[in-house]
Symmetry: C2
Subunit: 227 residues, 2 copies
């Protein structure tokens, strides 16, 4: 049975494509484009699964959404044990922690950052000064302090490292790459503020499997991360 990956351009599903390339699994790729106006993917994707989200994988009767679940599933299917941790391993809690942190803690603030950054441009010209104040207020009170807190933590963690856990890349890196790419694409001065993290992301972008994924996946505005 060949795995099918449903991929949306410039989205979370890029990391699954990268993982599939790293693990050398046989797979079929189905790529969708975003609507240039709304930036949403095609609505008929919901026919495949009611969640209507990307990435989505199909493997025989299984149709599975959710990056975290897909990463675990793909690693297990490939029998790629070094990419996972299990309860008998000392760094299992840390593995789980980064696996969840990426989307549960860091990414929600980046989503809010994206939504608020677009508000002033979309407001009528007369309302723009007020809307800009609202944006700056929420960014200053909630979004920026959280993103900075988390990025400082990551920057300290990644000092001298090219993977989140000891002993090479794991699912934790697959999960973390997307929010980190988003940080460098959207947060001013991120490259200066978080040099270890930048080096880490560039290390992943330099991998042959990542380059192969970039070639196959179509538009991906978040990579490669330039100097």
């Amino acid at each position: 049975m060949t795995l099918i990956l449903h991929h949306l351009e410039t989205s979370r599903s890029m990391r699954i494509l990268w993982l599939l390339e790293e693990l050398g699994l046989d797979y079929e790729l189905k790529t969708s484009q975003r609507d240039p106006k709304t930036m949403f993917g095609p609505a008929d994707h919901q026919k495949l699964h009611p969640q209507g989200s990307w990435p989505l994988i199909q493997d025989g009767d299984l149709t599975l959404p959710e990056s975290g679940a897909i990463v675990e599933y793909v690693i297990n299917k490939a029998g790629a044990e070094s990419w996972r941790r299990t309860p008998d391993q000392a760094d299992w809690p840390d593995y789980l922690r980064w696996m969840h942190f990426a989307e549960a803690t860091l990414q929600p603030y980046l989503l809010m950052h994206l939504v608020f950054s677009k508000l002033p441009k979309q407001a009528p010209a007369m309302a723009r000064p007020i809307v800009s104040k609202v944006k700056e207020g929420v960014e200053g009170f909630i979004i920026n302090p959280k993103v900075e807190l988390y990025m400082k933590m990551i920057e300290a963690h990644l000092t001298g490292k090219d993977s989140f856990l000891e002993g090479g890349l794991t699912g934790a890196d697959v999960m973390m790459i997307f929010p980190l790419e988003s940080v460098f694409a959207r947060i001013d001065d991120a490259g200066k503020k978080y040099p270890n993290t930048k080096k880490y992301v560039q290390g992943i972008h330099g991998r042959p499997a990542f380059k192969a994924a970039l070639e196959k996946g179509g538009e991906y505005k978040l990579a490669p991360l330039q100097d």
Copy 2:
């Protein structure tokens, strides 16, 4: 070694407290209050872990944040196998999917809903009509459609069920209870629109372990869910 749970009133950590009660593990509870003005928890919590978030558990040398990671850790520590799924079980992918969905997909839109719902009240009186329009625009374009899509999917999934997977409660239920409580607390008419889901939440709120957790954890505005 006794597990320590760092808990913040009316927050995600309530579900870990509930889980500890269900599993009958020995634990020590340390509860923090929110600042009544900012609604943030105490900043010195960051001394325990740079992420500065709740729930946080300590177990000997281990200090672990992130609900999803903590749920897996606690279940494993208690040897409560029926509360987890492993790769050899057919419903493992589904288990992982709900484990991640709760915080990675549903909760971010509920966080945005909360942030936007507060904007008009916090704006100066003259700016309020414009800020209300912004709020309604983002709610109508992004937040409400997503929350409705996900809640319809959950409502269909929970028809006639009192757990997300067959065979009783698992970590997936522990993860899902918090965003679902948030939906009923914040979304108008949620009780009417999602009766199966409401019944499911009320089922959990009726459990002795949940009631014990409510008594021990201090203020928890999201439960019990009333008729």
